[in-house]
Symmetry: C2
Subunit: 252 residues, 2 copies
Amino acid sequence: MPNYKLEISYDGNRYYGWEHQPDQPMTIQGKIETVLARMLSPEEGKPGEIPKVIGAGRTDAGVHARAMVANVVMEPDRTPEEIQDYLNRYLPDDISVNDVRIASDRFHARYNVIRKTYCYSLYCGHSKPVFDRKYVTVLDEAPNLQKMQEAAEYLKGTHDYKSFCGNSKMKKSTVRNVEEIRFEGNWPRVKIYYTGSGFLQNMVRILTGTLLEVGYGRLQPEDMERILEAKDRRQAGPTAPPEGLMLMRIDY
Amino acid sequence: MPNYKLEISYDGNRYYGWEHQPDQPMTIQGKIETVLARMLSPEEGKPGEIPKVIGAGRTDAGVHARAMVANVVMEPDRTPEEIQDYLNRYLPDDISVNDVRIASDRFHARYNVIRKTYCYSLYCGHSKPVFDRKYVTVLDEAPNLQKMQEAAEYLKGTHDYKSFCGNSKMKKSTVRNVEEIRFEGNWPRVKIYYTGSGFLQNMVRILTGTLLEVGYGRLQPEDMERILEAKDRRQAGPTAPPEGLMLMRIDY
């Protein structure tokens, strides 16, 4: 059976994250699998077998994706374009399938990831972000961006990011490589782009929350070394809200 | 008392339009007047006199504004910046006051308008517009843009736009000057900018609905002359949906 590669955008606001959960209808993976099961159904009205949609990673509840990548192995009775059109017709407005193509049998959306890029969007001004209010985090006071950039330099590289991991029961390695933390724009809109080999649970949000602590002077840029060293979640800053975070791009 | 000039953005989706209506709490004007009344209240908890906020024009239910202009004459006990901050604190997330300044006593937000610019946003593609889905009109099939542009040439100029007026009881002149109808972008996203001295009720939406009829071949560009001539709403196309329309700019 062919292996289809999908590229998906979604507004995470209504969802409990990407990953399918039992008894939780509002997940992106769950929505896509349900529509595919209907598409593959042998008879009208009877649910077909549910194909397993493998995402490049999990996004937290409320986090958005401009280009999540997934793969699914299933019956070849429709063209990629027909599959895309079927999904877009039956998926809700806040999930779009932007591309469907046949990938190599060996393609695995999670194992083959080389690099992911996330963007965290901040807003701070006398006005309010009316039209993108669901996709930014609004700050009451402007943090010091230069201090945040200094702190970001310490957080780049290959480190054990245990202090920045939201899963306290994580048993596997918490070492990751963060290639780049890049600031773009100026107030009222600042975006922070994070590119790396992979990110732990909540990691981009905890990195952002910690950088904001630096921006507000509650931590110093050089404290980042100590926090990494501590391998203790309590040393890092709070987890920034999910709505400002967007998965931008995945490289294979 | 000083005359304050306000610039306001709003997402029209939840509202019954700009204009205050009796027994209808969900209007933009009504929301702003309510917050100003609270600000001007002589005592905590007691509503003050409701100041009259004069908008540059009415937007229909569901229509958005990037920069509506309004003026309001009221007590001078706060600075423009304090007024802006107060409004933004108490107005809902989907209304933002972007600027407050003291204008000349003679400034009237409606009578002094020289020119308004609206933008109608269309989307047509195999994907869906997830992040701006509330601000575009999605088309199932792509209309012919060149035919639409040809038709737009007939609709520019100074004409009696009675055929494009949603108010059949309109007693005043329906002559307006449309300086420009400009197309921007290509599929999946096309924007049509309308600039003119003023627009009748639903006029931009009826112009857009009529241009779409041309784009789908149900009308020819040269039919526009006949439709203008007829001064009969039934000759023009349908009223395009409100969510694709945004008031962009007002010149004084």
